[in-house]
Symmetry: C2
């Protein structure tokens, strides 16, 4: 079986050095990324990739997103440096790295539009968006032109949860304590963002948009019942907003929008969750991904565990092919072998 | 098969009338509860229960919790009125209502201790706790004596997510928009609360405590991979807290505490999620529950859907008996038929 790993993280050299020079890089972030060689050392990363047969990666930069690390003056340049760094690695090692996603300087929406146009014309295979822009939801009007460019390109969005700590939505020590914010808050934040893309009307405006939500849709598949029945009753709990007419204005049942999103298999090797997520999205809307190299082995752990889980689910050959490589080939524009 | 519905909601007359007199009752809450007759009209509720063969309910008051509706002067009395109202209904209709859970006036911790002692001595089958006390996490020290009383009794906690809107943790319109706060935020909040009970050391202090988390554990089972592997690495993302020594201080691996909690099947009839949740907790730690009467039919909808889902999962006879009634009989102290 060919495995294309749709969502995993790497820092090219120049971007990595600049990242370590930021205030965050000098503290927790630097400590963390230094501890994981395969996140920035290309030889180490190649070693990990080569542990698996017929396995290749679509590279994405790691979080935090560009707009969180640098201000408006610096973010556009840093996004270019990061994206060009990934493009260069893909060009040099096309067998191991079959594509990449680009980050945009979302804190400068006009520059983000230009960078999206540039990288998509140059062959970027996807755009990676953090689920909020320094606390601003992605459905705010200033971001819509960016979605328009991505929708026109036909390439997918890789939606990554953004650090919720210190964000306006989650300001207190209550949530960030015990790293609850990343362990549970990230998948929740993913669900919140998908909901806002739906209810703001953004998906109706750009119906061709393909959104791949990291970690198998965040919390959405497990909350399928609520996503369906509770949102069918939108407005039952509030009287200060006219949600009844919002429901009528939407082109589809809320539930159906969520079913149309895509998920990846990066759930740290959880078998029952993988089954639940594939059941929700369907095999045509799930992509193999590992979140490499954030496992305890710092590279191969989640790749191995995820392959083993997929092998154990009793999926048909066609479902397996779709998940492991065909959906990625189609969506990212990668040649079938 | 006998079905004991472990978690569903009803307002006894006196409590309901007082609730409508509160500021919340005069607005959204009143509008909402008036629209669901089986939530407060006993004849209507009996009609719903009698639609199903060999089916009975353990009654719980509806949300918001007592401490949210009334201040410190009034909450202790209102909790008594609500609890005695449920106890009376159970006494009058022991075939249909085989038990009840009691709310405590959590905004007056000493009164909550006394009310817990009173109702547990009088035969309450469980204590229903909202997942936060007007924004204060349940693991704050003032609440520990309450957990001590419950742990001693051997009776379980029914953990209900509390309205996150207007809470310190979620202060903005960003989350409450589109009712995201209840649809997605409630199960997330459930997960946050379970995590805090673990990492605060409260579960180590009261190891006999049995916590049944509504909606099949909130988001926990789907996030099993993160709950396991990410929390094994607690501290990797932070340097300002000594989480390494916290991990060492805990008596078990974080993951194992979460596996020891209980969930109910109230997921609005979502089949794949039900399978995922039962896989996570195991059949000995899952209780049949419907969240009646919050379905679109205002009573029987989720009961019927949940029974159908359980019938479809190919569980063994023993697993089905555990989930449908034996776990409830054992934990709530209900006679086996």
């Amino acid at each position: 079986m060919r495995y294309i790993d749709a969502f995993n993280h790497f820092f090219p050299r120049r971007y990595y050095d600049a990242l370590l020079d930021t205030p965050a890089g000098a503290k927790d972030l630097g400590k963390r990324v230094r501890g994981i060689p395969a996140l920035s050392n290309l030889d180490e990363r190649l070693r990990v990739v080569d542990m698996f047969e017929n396995y290749s990666q679509v590279l994405s930069l790691g979080l935090p997103p560009v707009e969180r690390l640098w201000g408006a003056e610096k973010a556009p340049e840093m996004a270019r440096i990061g994206n060009d760094g990934l493009a260069e690695i893909v060009a040099r090692h096309p067998d191991r790295f079959v594509g990449y996603s680009a980050f945009l300087p979302m804190n400068v929406p006009e520059a983000a539009v230009k960078e999206a146009e540039r990288v998509l014309a140059d062959g970027a295979n996807a755009i990676q968006l953090a689920s909020n822009v320094n606390g601003s939801p992605l459905d705010e009007p200033q971001f819509w032109p960016i979605f328009e460019v991505i929708a026109k390109s036909g390439r997918p969005i890789l939606l990554h949860p953004a650090r919720t700590r210190d964000m306006p939505d989650y300001p207190t020590e209550k949530i960030s304590k015990y790293e609850i914010c990343s362990v549970l808050g990230w998948p929740y934040e993913t669900g919140v963002t998908l909901a806002r893309l739906v209810f703001s009307g953004l998906i109706d405006r750009y119906p061709g948009l393909k959104v791949i939500a990291h970690h198998l849709g965040g919390v959405i598949p497990y909350l399928e019942g609520r996503v369906g029945h509770s949102w069918d009753q939108l407005g039952a709990r509030t009287s200060d907003e006219d949600y009844a007419s919002l429901l009528k204005r939407l082109k589809k049942r809320p539930y159906d929008y969520f079913k149309d999103f895509y998920g990846d298999t990066a759930v740290e090797g959880a078998r029952a969750a993988t089954a639940c997520g594939i059941d929700f999205f369907g095999a045509e809307h799930v992509l193999f991904a590992s979140d490499c190299p954030f496992d305890q082995e710092k590279g191969p752990g989640y790749i191995r565990a995820t392959i083993a889980v997929l092998d154990s689910l009793g999926l048909s050959a066609q479902q397996m092919e779709s998940i492991c490589h065909r959906n990625a080939e189609r969506m990212f524009g990668i040649s079938a072998k």
